[in-house]
Symmetry: C2
Subunit: 134 residues, 2 copies
């Protein structure tokens, strides 16, 4: 069912410092910051030859990643995103198998403009999993 690893998302406490680390220390292709006010984050994409790293930084007063940074002040890996062809079929299969889909189970439009769902970390080894329909 799952296809490519679309991205690994890393929450960071200092976006410019993180951009500099990846650009200068690791010599990666680091994009410009993009504000995503509907999602409460500023995002930086790091383009690798086979996938992307997304740096996430809180935007606004109600950012969904502020709590994560409060618990992990140095930052940390926030989630992994797998691609699926049909997000409703994926959801229905997961529910049948006993997995928990966050947020009521209706796909939302994610930061890339595509339908996404998040799965409960307790069902996946403490790892928050995003599914994105591509």
């Amino acid at each position: 069912m799952i296809g490519r690893l679309n991205h690994v998302a890393i929450a960071v406490p200092d976006l410019e410092a993180a951009r500099a680390q990846y650009a200068t220390m690791l010599g990666a292709d680091v994009g410009a910051p993009q504000d995503e006010p509907d999602h409460g984050v500023t995002v930086v994409f790091i383009t690798l030859p086979n996938t992307k790293i997304e740096l996430l930084y809180p935007l606004g007063d109600d950012s969904p990643i502020q709590g994560f940074l409060d618990k992990n002040p140095s930052g940390g890996i926030h989630h992994v995103c797998y691609e699926v062809d049909d997000i409703l079929a994926a959801r229905d299969h997961l529910l049948t198998e006993g997995a928990r889909v966050l947020g009521g189970g209706e796909p939302k439009i994610g930061a890339h403009g595509k339908p996404v769902l998040f799965l409960h970390p307790k069902d996946f080894n403490g790892c928050l999993v995003e599914l994105e329909q591509v």
Copy 2:
């Protein structure tokens, strides 16, 4: 400098349950467990079209991931691994830029039989980074 994302490693508290989750719930291509006694882990590779997920489970009495699981009983993302062409050149560049290389800075032969180094998580947003020469 960094190339492909070689893998994302997830430490898991129950290897068979994790294998079943990825095979049955997520429909992924899940390999057989491989004991790596020199590294204190049993590894399961999940092959995605563009990269790999590595499930890590402690092996033996002195496993390097036991402490991580003690702190994260549900499991969690343990590290990301980026490929480099020349690990000694990568190390020297990182040291010049002020990054900390773990374990004295000499590459060791990793679980894939290739030279690897680990970078200090505090220098990379709380994220343990492995570099593997390919």
